[in-house]
Amino acid sequence: MTGHLKSWPIVLALSILSAPLVLMYVYLFIDTFTNAPPGSFIPNEFTLEHWTFLWHTPPGRLSIWRVTLNSLMFATSTATLVVVVSSMAGYVLSRLNVPARGFFLAGVMVLHAFPAITLIVAIFLVLQIVGLYNTLIGVILVKAAIDMPLGIWLMKGFYDTVPWEIEMAGIQDGASRFTVWRKLVLPQVKPGIFALGLFAFLLGWGEFILPQVLAPSGNAQVLSVYLAALIADDNNFDMALFKSVGLFYIAPVLILFFFFQSYLMNIYGGGSKG
């Protein structure tokens, strides 16, 4: 379909456009392992000194491992919550004859389009009132709730592809609707559940504004807030350190993306609102 037209001019143009991005990400790696003479960007020595943050905790900060653990707990908990809640609700919207089903479907679509971040002031105050401010649990619940409409929408889509006959056969075989869902339908959407879980994990791992507002300090600090605080600290400017912490932070994302990019691109394209 591209005919006999040459593609190299396009490749060249795209390469030039992409150069700044490539440069930024390549130097993210280079700068964490090397030193360069002042005013130059060509490294002249290999070093691991920027990685000392892994075993040396500066006074007044949490240990990087504690923060990483928080991030892991935050991301896995939100992902689990999103997957569990969405795989339940998505099934209802896809298959069950509930009252006001159309209303629920429309509701999910509206919630999906609605920018939940605008509610952050109210959520901030509510968490303060109920005492969940500055706790991981509070911010996990909020994050899961915000990601949930997308999750329900995606899961509904996955369920829609399961043949009705499987469910019909199940109830004829004597299984209750619950058993049909649990034993017969859920196994069919495993790939979807995996994709959604991965996606929700990455969203949680990268989330900044919610923990920044709802759990900014204390023992609930996550990597994004930790790194932002490090960068914002005027007394301690060290770009190589920032980048090392940053690389430490982004590495799981890059690895997961590398292995599961087709899954993720579909979700980002099909369901995410960006």
Partner: protein, 352 residues
């Protein structure tokens, strides 16, 4: 078990699909629900197994009213067109599923599962997954799963539609064998008259939500109640021509053909327009009524030839005859039809 649909009606929203249908299936009988797509036969099947709620009337299994009973308690075995095997389970697990749902002891589950696998001849496939099976094998697994819990009735929804021609022939007799061996009451939903005729004890032929005729295959073929039934059964199909009754005979307009009124049929009053149905096997060299026309199409089928005979008024009749080479395309011929094999229908399709 005897199944009775008593004045059963079903609508979807404002659309009435079936109204006041009454149908009785005898114990141990295999009945075909035959009809074109959209005639309501699948709707009827779904109502029997409880997937659809009925809008009116009753459904009885034996003497028990099942109308409001959920599917799970009706104990109906269903084989779906797509087989609907559980893809994540092995063949053994698929067959055992209905038993495990009923919390039978594991030893009993295994015994009954194997017994059923033997019955449908899939003993060697028990550890495979559905995706590793051929269409015919999947069909057998679906049958085993439907039968393993000794259902009150077995429903087969277009079970052969997804098979290729050769397998279809094989499974046709297999399903019938299994049905006869188990003695189970069965309902076969199909749009294929060959399946219905070859597999079933009786046929209920449906059109537009109504049962037109219920009879044994033979009776239905020989004695169709309407033109629709006559047209649905038989391959190659029956041909119809318009005629007018006059002086105790039937005149085909503009074709110089006069046909006698078949015996056992009341002679219609003069001037009544009628439809005459002639099956291809009844038009040929033997018979008592001559029909002239031009051979407009010849199809060689090996043992037999199929001819299209175009009459002077443009109507086309079909004839199937033993293979011979004494006539060829575009020949003008005078063939004969057996008047006792003619069907006479009124303009509205009712048999006269």
């Amino acid at each position: 078990m005897r199944i009775l649909l008593d004045k059963f009606s079903k609508s979807f929203g404002d659309v009435r699909v079936i109204e006041d249908m009454t149908l009785e299936i005898n114990d141990g009988e295999m009945l075909a629900l035959l009809g074109p797509s959209g005639c309501g036969k699948s709707t009827t099947l779904f109502a029997i197994c409880g997937i659809h709620k009925v809008t009116g009337g009753r459904i009885l299994f034996g003497d028990r009213d099942m109308t409001g009973v959920p599917s799970q308690e009706r104990n109906v075995g269903v084989v779906f067109q797509s087989y609907a095997l559980y893809p994540h389970m092995t063949v053994a697990e698929n067959i055992a599923f209905p038993l495990r749902i009923r919390k039978l002891p594991e030893a009993e589950v295994k015994r009954q599962m194997e017994e059923m696998a033997n019955l449908v001849h899939i003993e060697a496939l028990l550890d495979r997954r559905p995706a590793e099976l051929s269409g015919g094998q999947q069909q057998r697994v679906a049958l085993a799963r439907a039968l393993v819990r000794r259902p009150n009735v077995l429903l087969l929804d277009e079970p052969l539609a997804n098979l290729d021609a050769k397998l279809r022939l094989e499974m046709r007799s297999e399903i019938r064998r299994i049905q006869l061996e188990t003695g189970i009451t069965a309902i076969l939903v199909t749009h294929d008259q060959v399946e219905a005729m070859s597999m079933c004890d009786r046929i209920a032929i449906m059109n537009a939500g109504e049962i037109i005729q219920i009879a044994t295959p033979q009776e239905m073929y020989r004695n169709p109640r309407t033109a629709f039934v006559a047209g649905f059964l038989g391959n190659p199909p029956i041909a119809f021509i318009d005629a007018v009754a006059s002086n105790g005979t039937l005149t085909v307009k503009d074709a110089d053909i006069r046909l006698p009124v078949p015996p056992n049929t009341e002679t219609p009053p003069d001037g009544t327009p009628v439809i005459v149905g002639i099956r291809p096997e009844n038009l040929g060299r033997d018979g008592d009524a001559p029909i002239r026309g031009r051979i407009s199409f010849v199809e060689t089928q090996g043992r037999e030839n199929l001819y299209d005979l175009t009459l002077a008024n443009g109507s086309v009749l079909r004839s199937i005859q033993r293979e011979s080479d004494d006539v060829s395309l575009n020949d003008e011929v005078e063939w004969r039809v057996r008047s006792d094999q003619l069907f006479l229908f009124a303009q509205n399709g009712e048999r006269l």
